[in-house]
């Protein structure tokens, strides 16, 4: 019998639909991915390429538009709201770039770490013991009663890591956890991350745009324009979206429709100007 991989993703498509403007933004355009149990992989790619979106789907925080996503023996794309909440509660630990998204700022570190265990109904004594152990492992045993605002950036992310692991998830997802840290502190956090990944045998996926960070992992996957780099999806996405409307994100990134991209020379500079409220893109030959 063929041994199943821990994560299996096929033809994953995610289109964001803006309720105000009715513009549809394709974030993922057909992802195919397999991850083995216990693996520590990193996802790299330019800003806006869909890395976060992929993590959100794996974390059960947003619904895929189409495709097949399985984590362990759970098919996530079939889950409803409540089921997804239970999935998050039982199986996933997350660590985000923004420290304020990882910890409740008004609670001391220890209570933050205890929170996921409370959700699972772990008895008090056990909860306290586990939380202390975890905090010891990330080197914060003396700071347990402190609030996040009293810690340094690296310490906060370490506390966030402890929280993400508190309920012993099978899957650990991290979205640029080192993004706000200096390189030294980032490296430190990474060491903790790898150690814990090993000692708990957790499958871990980390998003980063830093090749150095990525190089510390078992495997690097690159995402460009919502696709795993060098891979062409079987299904054409363009049929799903309006061919003549494009979306500009808040960084100014534009994704041109495929039928235009096919006609132009890519990897080349273009001139952008604005006239009477119209944006003009010019390519000089």
């Amino acid at each position: 019998m063929k041994k199943l991989s821990f994560i299996e993703i096929q033809d994953l498509i995610k289109i964001y639909e803006s309720k105000e403007t009715f513009i549809r933004v394709p974030a993922l355009r057909g992802i195919e991915l397999e991850v083995k149990k216990g693996e520590f992989i990193s996802i790299i790619g330019p800003s806006g390429s869909g890395k976060t979106t992929l993590l959100l789907i794996l974390a059960g925080m947003t619904e895929p538009s189409a495709g097949y996503v399985r984590v362990d023996d759970i098919q996530i794309d079939k889950l409803d709201d409540t089921q997804r909440a239970y999935y998050r509660r039982n199986h996933v630990g997350t660590l985000w770039q923004l420290p304020s998204r990882n910890l409740i700022w008004e609670l001391p570190i220890i209570e933050n770490v205890e929170l996921p265990m409370r959700l699972l109904g772990v008895p008090r004594e056990q909860r306290k013991k586990l939380a202390k152990e975890l905090l010891k492992e990330v080197g914060l045993e003396t700071r347990m009663e402190h609030k996040p605002s009293q810690l340094s950036g690296g310490e906060v992310q370490r506390a966030g890591l402890a929280t993400a692991l508190a309920h012993q998830p099978k899957l650990l997802l991290a979205d640029e956890p080192t993004g706000e840290l200096d390189s030294h502190t980032a490296e430190e956090l990474l060491i903790y991350f790898r150690d814990l990944n090993k000692s708990y045998g957790i499958t871990a996926i980390m998003v980063t745009h830093d090749y150095f960070v990525a190089s510390k992992t078992n495997k690097i996957i690159q995402i460009v324009d919502g696709r795993i780099s060098g891979y062409n999806p079987a299904r054409e996405l363009e049929s799903l979206i309006d061919m003549n409307k494009v979306y500009i994100d808040r960084y100014g990134t534009i994704q041109l429709p495929k039928h235009i991209v096919e006609q132009i020379e890519t990897q080349k500079e273009i001139k952008v100007s604005m006239e009477n409220g119209k944006i003009i893109l010019e390519q000089n030959n």
Binding site: A85, V92, I104
Partner: protein, 1023 residues
């Protein structure tokens, strides 16, 4: 003393008011379908509608509570309760403060209104002795036996029983009265005169009362014996003493003069006792704490009478020739004031009207008496009370409604300020795998806890404040002892009921918004534009809606419905317009801050000062940067200041309007109506009172004529030119130029000045002459038909114009009806040229009292000289200082002020602290680059100072506008004399300063803590 209130009445009242809320709702919808058939058709819908509304009102609360309960009980969220509560209580507390305020205002309002309404009518009657219903049966042959009194009383008794009013009318008293006069010698004036001295026959209770209160002598027992009831003044001016005999005459002709000289019928009686009315205790009545002055009880106009037991008096009466034993019988019915339901005044009014009709009917049907008049003084009192009470309610409503809206805005605003932080917590909770239902359940539990806290704290806060308010005696002073706070089960439950509804609505709203899906993306956004509601032109919509409503309210067609439209259209229009204007003027905030900025950028020589100015201008620049948040708090600040300003201006203007109105109706400080102006001796005696500055005689008559289809009336007020200006009340705006100038034109008898609008409608003007036709009277010209009346006319010349004239002009006729009324003022000597029957001319004596003298005291002095026809301006003023009536007026104002102070300091403190938390990074950066603590403080305070100054100015302007509107609403039923706005600058400035101070302290505390914070933690804290 006020009767203690029994609980059953209270409970009844509570249920009733629930019913009334429901009923008044559907009446609002159905009152216009007054056609009978339509009502029949609508009956079912009406019924359904009522039931539906009751369900909504009575069941919404239990429903929301049940929902809360279910969420908490069956979907436990207890496992996350502890950490979430620990993390969130601070934020909840901020919202709870708003809710506490709202609850305390509601409970204040309810407690106060209840306490007031329980006692209001009794308090109102404090100054009104005539609280009974009097049946007057004219031309009854008086029998010298008590069977007659028994039979007549029986008729009233049966009627009362039929109407089930036996418990309401606890006492009835009968007497008869016949107008007689006597002749006596005045030892002071040294002349004989003929005072009125009516003959009164008493029933047992009245006899007993008087025999217990004799001043001299004994009570009459035998035929021909009488008791004399008179004032001490009369006593001094006559030779009537115990044991003296006096003659009683009856007048024969209608005319005073004719009859006085030759009495035609008479009898002789012996005085056995004397009662001096001045110090007689009041006649006590069952069901009332205070009694009734006996002269008022007997309806004596001049306060004097001869009295005897019924049988004796009846025989005296029949012994006077030409009376044939006929007199009027009076029955006074005393209604137990305590049983009057002040919560259902309309019901009481119709009950009293019905009683009057039934009584009249019964006297006719059962006794055969046709000349029956029912004088329901009580009914008049209730009707007047209703008008007055309506006015108070308008006051309370007009001020408290915006205040409650303001607290709700504050609550929502506070909730919004902390929402981001709350949402962050809840997002993390949800990302860690908490289901929506668990979060909802937690939020419900949490809001229940804070709701209960808010409920109890709010009511606990409301009780002392309303206790204080009940004592309101003036502007922010609390010395009134007449009314006291009454907290009873119904008021408590209504306060709980109302508060619970508000809390549940706020909390439900809060939970729903918090449960919405959140996106973490918009952290730390800076809003550079106006708040989003400006995008929909909310301000313009408000102003146009309010404006349209205002125009509708002012429509002449609706003038008949003002009672109803004031609350439903007038005040809402005012409130909507006020909100609209306040919102609109916020658009000026950036312009304002920019111009302040320019002012601060004037180059300065001193370097130190320059730096300070730079920091200041930086602070002002921030206002444009954080425009949205600034505008939000500026709206609230301007609004509360506007409300405060109108809370000062409106009562002051109203008080002035009230006093002016009283003076306008009366004419002077003190006025004696039907004054015998020929009695030079009397005028002299009055003028001799040292506290009196001057007196002036005024005559009034209306000359009526018919010309073609038109009935024309020329109302003429003849005044004493030399004394009018210094004696009478007059306001500069009543005439175009000066009063003196105008009066100097009237030297000749036939010159008049006219009302300017009226004279235009008959196409006349200054310089024109006018012929007034009228029915003249001359006794010596009796023609062949025997009538002394004939047609005559007088030609006058119009020499000037006026707008308003006290006593004379109550209504200006400008419409084209078939009757024309024109008003004129002339020299008093014009009446020498007009031959009218003396009965058609009204004579007044106007009296001006020296400044700072007590008008009341002097009135009493004059009464002892001139009888009881003396009226003073004080008794005509609605809201006198220290009265129970002023208490409610001032409590509305004081409550508004107190609440505004609280809201202002809270809002700015809240706003400042949240702003400073949001900007903690910025603050830390500034500190890091070396900005000192004091500079930082200056920076914040300059921001708040600019904000405060702006909102104060805008609040003042919009406050003045809304005051003007409110004055229009209050005075809409009375346009003459027009109201004048009063601006008590001292109070406005005082309150403005208090507001600024409280707000500034509110801003200072968080600013100080922010400047003292550690840089490290702030820089590290992510936004």
């Amino acid at each position: 003393m006020i009767n203690p209130i029994d609980e059953t009445k209270a409970r009844k009242v509570f249920l009733k008011s629930l019913f009334i809320i429901t009923r008044s709702f559907y009446y609002r919808f159905f009152q216009y379908s007054k056609v009978k058939q339509k009502i029949e058709k609508n009956k079912n819908i009406k019924y359904l509608f009522g039931v539906l509304l009751s369900i909504v009102f009575i069941w919404l609360i239990p429903f929301l509570l049940l929902l809360d309960f279910l969420l908490i009980l069956f979907l436990p969220s207890l496992h996350i309760f502890k950490p979430m509560f620990k993390a969130g209580w601070k934020f909840n507390l901020i919202t709870t403060v708003g809710v506490i305020l709202a609850v305390s205002i509601i409970s204040q309002y309810v407690f106060f209104i209840y306490s007031y309404q329980y006692q209001a009518f009794e308090l109102y009657l404090e100054d009104e002795p005539r609280t009974f219903i009097q049946a007057q049966i004219d031309s009854v042959h008086i029998e010298p036996s008590y069977t007659q009194t028994y039979l007549i009383d029986r008729i009233a008794d049966v009627t009362i029983q039929e109407m089930n009013l036996t418990n309401n009318i606890l006492q009835r008293d009968l007497f008869f009265k016949r107008g007689t006069f006597t002749s006596t010698y005045d030892p002071i004036a040294k002349q004989t005169y003929l005072p009125n001295l009516p003959l009164v026959g008493l029933t047992d209770r009245l006899s007993l009362f008087l025999s217990n209160h004799l001043t001299q002598g004994r009570f009459p027992e035998n035929f021909g014996e009488v008791l004399v009831f008179l004032s001490s003044n009369f006593y001094n001016h006559s030779t009537i003493r115990v044991n003296s005999t006096i003659n009683l005459y009856i007048p024969i002709s209608l005319l005073k003069q004719a009859s006085l000289s030759e009495p035609q019928a008479q009898t002789e009686v012996t005085v056995t006792g004397i009662v001096i009315s001045d110090n007689l205790t009041d006649f006590s009545v069952i069901g009332s704490d205070k009694g009734i002055p006996f002269d008022i009880f007997l309806n004596l106009y001049e306060g004097n009478a001869v009295l005897s037991p019924w049988t004796i008096a009846a025989r005296i009466l029949s012994s006077i020739q030409l009376t044939y034993g006929f007199a009027s019988i009076y029955e006074n019915l005393f209604y137990d004031i305590g049983t009057i339901d002040t919560f259902n005044l309309d019901g009481e009014i119709s009950k009293l009207k019905e009683l009057a009709i039934n009584l009249k009917d019964s006297y006719l049907q059962m006794g055969g008496y046709s000349g029956v008049d029912i004088n329901s003084y009580l009914l008049t009192a209730i009707e007047e009370f209703k008008d007055e009470y309506n006015l108070y309610q308008i006051f309370m409503f007009a001020f408290l409604a915006p205040i409650i809206i303001l607290t709700l805005i504050l609550t929502v605003y506070a909730a919004n300020l902390v929402r981001k932080k709350r949402e962050r917590q809840l997002t993390i909770l949800s990302e860690r795998g908490t289901t929506k239902i668990e979060i909802g359940s937690y939020l419900a539990l949490e809001s229940l806890i804070f709701g209960i806290i808010a409920l109890f704290l709010g009511i606990a806060l409301g009780i002392p404040v309303s206790a204080l308010l009940t004592k309101s005696s003036g502007f922010l002073s609390f010395g009134n002892q007449t009314s006291r706070l009454q907290i009873k089960i119904p008021s408590l439950s209504q306060a709980l009921f109302g508060s619970l509804l508000v809390i549940l609505i706020i909390q439900t709203f809060n939970v729903i918004t918090l449960l919405k899906t959140r996106s973490i993306e918009d952290y730390g956004k800076v809003e550079k534009t106006l708040p989003s509601f400006y995008r929909y032109y909310v301000d313009i919509i408000f102003i146009s809606t309010g404006g349209i409503l205002w125009v509708i309210y002012q429509l002449p067609i609706l003038s008949g419905f003002r009672d109803k439209t004031t609350k439903s259209i007038g005040i809402p229009a005012m409130i909507i317009l006020l909100f609209g204007i306040v919102l609109l003027i916020q658009r000026l905030l950036p312009i304002f801050s920019k111009s302040v900025l320019k002012l601060t950028q004037i180059p300065s020589d001193k370097l130190k000062k320059k730096l300070r100015l730079d920091i200041f201008s930086l602070g002002i620049k921030e206002i444009t940067r954080y425009q949205s948040s600034f505008v939000r708090s500026s709206v609230i600040l301007s609004l509360s200041f506007a409300i405060v300003v109108s809370a000062i201006v409106v009562p002051a203007s109203y008080q002035k309007f009230n006093i002016d109105g009283a003076y306008y109706d009366l004419g002077a400080d003190i006025v004696i109506e039907n004054f015998p102006i020929e009695n030079k001796f009397l005028i002299e005696e009055i003028e001799n009172i040292t506290e009196i500055q001057s007196t002036c005689i005024v005559k009034y008559a209306a000359l009526s004529d018919i010309s073609g289809d038109y009935a024309i009336t020329h109302a003429i007020l003849g005044i004493d030119l030399n004394k009018f200006a210094e004696t009478a009340f007059f306001r500069e705006d009543f005439v175009d130029h000066s009063l003196k100038q105008l009066l100097s034109l009237l030297k000749e008898d036939t010159r008049v000045i006219a009302q300017e609008d009226e004279i235009k409608t008959i196409n006349r003007g200054v310089g024109d002459s006018l012929i007034m036709g009228y029915r003249a009277y001359n006794e010596s010209r009796r023609g062949s038909d025997g009538s002394p009346f004939y047609r005559s006319n007088i030609s006058v010349e119009i020499v000037g114009l006026f707008k308003y004239w006290p006593i004379l002009v109550k209504d200006i006729s400008t419409t084209n009806t078939l009757s024309i009324l024109n008003h004129f003022v002339a020299n008093i000597s014009i009446f020498n040229k007009i031959e009218l029957s003396p009965l058609e001319i009204k004579d007044y004596l106007l009296i001006k009292v020296n400044q700072k003298e007590d008008i009341e005291e002097i009135t009493n002095k004059i009464k002892t000289i001139a009888g009881s026809n003396v009226e003073n301006v004080n008794s005509k003023i609605f809201v006198r200082e220290g009265s129970a009536r002023s208490s409610i007026l001032y409590s509305a104002i004081n409550s508004t002020l107190i609440m505004s102070f609280t809201i202002n300091s809270l809002i700015i403190a809240l706003y400042a602290s949240v702003q400073l938390i949001e900007r903690s990074r910025e603050i830390a950066t500034m500190k890091a680059i070396g900005v000192s603590k004091s500079q930082l403080l200056l920076l914040f305070l300059s921001e708040y100072a600019t904000l405060l100054i702006f909102s104060t100015i805008m609040g003042l302007l919009s406050g003045l506008f809304s005051s003007w509107m409110l004055m229009n609403i209050i005075t809409i039923n009375r346009s003459i004399p027009p109201f004048i706005m009063k601006f008590p600058m001292f109070y406005i400035v005082l309150v403005g300063l208090i507001l600024l101070l409280t707000a500034f302290i509110g801003a200072l505390i968080p600013s100080l803590t922010a400047t003292n914070k550690n840089i490290g933690t702030d820089l590290r804290q992510s936004s």
